[in-house]
Assembly symmetry: C2
Homo-oligomer: 369 residues x 2
């Protein structure tokens, strides 16, 4: 396709913080944005030229929205398949509905990765309760039961320490189609934010190390402390995934780094997110081109930006009440505060983040708190 | 005053690129923006929560606008005094109307600087044609006749090489109240973007060197190559100006650097701009806190941000057709493109800019083209 020139309009499904940061990155390149969001509160709309407030099932509103834009993208992976289908009859949808369909279902995602020779945790399908015992025999315990769909930040998951806990876990996740995943005894959690352009070129930011608290990303250290060969391998895995999916846009690839004793391949893919990713927020202030601009470039058919970082960074999510500390953060030298404009600071809600910048090679060591 | 907390609303007079970049910086801190602009095209409105389209003389619209926001600021210095007066009855106006009044008139501006012992070019008032001959005798030729008000990018100026050209120059500037300024034989043009907080604290970015083409800023080199003592002196002059004005916000201070032969003081102030300044656009990508965020912090009573740069930068304005080169710029490593969303690329119109980043101490030398 021909590149979408500045002045064009980008349609974004979803009005939360990722849509908001995408909209600002698009505006910096001279684009207008049109947000589509069913929610009463849509932070992205405050920085966009236009808002359509309608349900994701409203075929008429979806068609009018897609007709008004040059390309449609989204800030979350749980876009209903029918929504994506309707939109794609009226405008290009990037990343394509196929990648969405694969990534929004843990079973198809893991099956896809396995079929392409990419290491994951062992897994087995649990369609009905009767599958559970057999799955646990295959996978062993401890294990995790996870709903196939709609899981994020630890939601829709239950740990199974011993086989006797299986029934309780099935109740806990709401008796939904699921998978059982084996525990991975990892050393560290890393991720790679990778982009693939419309021309098939890829560009990956440096792998980063992530710390979670209560299943929610707490901090990202950029870069991860990795031997160069391992960092290259992580980037290569991420690039292979987007290539195999014929993907256009930015993707977050979460990986586990296994201990050295694991042998030849120490990297296992935990999850892919077909969108800009929380572990890429550091790029906003430590790279010339952020992950948000990179995504806009990709879906508009532009050349991908240089993913090199000019600074090291530690990104800290401001979750719930943490955002109340804005004044102290604002007073810190070298800190860049980002707040999402959300009205209410509920526990576990991502209210903003802060990027603390350091000269190349000078980021502080990873600490657990 | 108490600081304005995230979630508050900032009113911005003017809908051009400076208002647009202010609005995005404000959104990054969790603020909403309300743009007031009489023009049909208002690029800032595409990234703001709200727009009022009304003339600057509409007292009712101004009052409603100011009532809807927590603070009013502006992207240009030619705000009519009556407009500022009406607004300030309904909301705090920052910077204060007094600084506006001084800076929007070349005579009061230069008189203010002179009274505070800050070096400027020699100048004399020309209220009526009869003043012109006497002024030229005092100032000498060559000189420049400049309208007192509404001049920018070389508009409202006429050169007087010899006294015989005085009448023609008076016609050329439209027979408006003016000043005659002596020529300054400078070595380089530099500028300092300085901020003053509500608490009286100041923070100045590194002085930069500016190259103009046809009286329009073409490129900014950050930092200017200056001996540390000279850079400190430039920052100190800028800080003194904002302090003497009891100013709150960001100000651009343009200076001439005289040749070494000039003796003790080599810095002369050319012009002050009571707003964010084109020669500060490099801070968007080379500092943790940009001049736009710095201005928002100041007018909201927040602590000022650290003005340290993490990278060197060369900022190039994209004027008129230059913005058509976006695809080539987008393909350059280390370049950050900014486009303002203007529909039509007229000659001399600022369409965007590009910041090219370099490691500290590694920016390329200043070249004239």
């Amino acid at each position: 396709m021909a590149a979408i020139a500045p002045g064009g309009t980008i349609g974004i499904l979803g009005g939360g913080q990722l849509g908001r940061m995408l909209a600002m990155a698009a505006a910096e390149l001279g684009f207008k944005c049109h947000i589509y969001c069913p929610d009463a509160e849509a932070q992205a709309a405050d920085v966009a030229a236009r808002l359509t407030r309608a349900p994701y099932e409203d075929a008429v509103a979806l068609a009018a929205f897609a007709d008004s834009v040059d390309v449609v993208t989204y800030e979350f992976e749980n876009v209903p398949a029918e929504t994506a289908r309707i939109l794609s009859q009226h405008a290009p949808v990037r990343p394509a509905p196929r990648a969405l369909a694969i990534a929004q279902d843990r079973l198809t995602e893991k099956t896809f990765l396995k079929e392409h020779g990419i290491a994951t945790a062992p897994f087995a399908e649990v369609a009905v309760p009767a599958d559970l015992d057999a799955a646990l025999v295959r996978i062993g315990t401890p294990a995790i039961l996870k709903t196939r769909r709609m899981g994020y930040d630890g939601k829709g998951q239950a740990k199974i320490a011993r086989a006797e806990e299986a029934a309780a876990a099935w109740e806990a996740i709401g008796r939904l189609p699921a998978i059982v995943e084996g525990f991975v005894d990892f050393e560290r959690e890393i991720s790679v934010v990778v982009a693939r352009g419309a021309d098939g070129g890829t560009a990956a930011y440096d792998p980063v190390e992530n710390l979670h608290t209560d299943h929610i990303l707490a901090r990202t250290y950029a870069p991860a402390a990795l031997a160069p060969a391992l960092a290259d391998e992580a980037r290569a895995i991420a690039a292979r995934i987007v290539a195999e999916l014929d993907y256009v846009g930015v993707m977050g690839v979460e990986m586990f780094l296994l201990p050295e004793s694991a042998g030849a391949s120490r990297l296992t893919v935990n999850e892919i997110a077909p969108r800009v990713h929380n572990s890429g927020h550091w790029t906003m202030d430590a790279c010339a081109v952020s992950q948000f601009e990179q995504h806009i470039r990709a879906i508009c058919g532009w050349p991908l930006g240089d993913p090199a970082r000019h600074s090291d960074a530690v990104m800290t999510n401001l979750i719930g009440d943490a955002a109340a500390g804005w004044a102290a953060i604002a007073a810190e030298p070298g800190a860049k505060l980002h707040l999402y404009g959300k009205a209410e600071a509920r526990p576990g809600r991502k209210m903003g983040h802060v990027n603390r910048l350091f000269p190349l090679g000078k980021r502080p060591p990873v600490t657990s708190r």
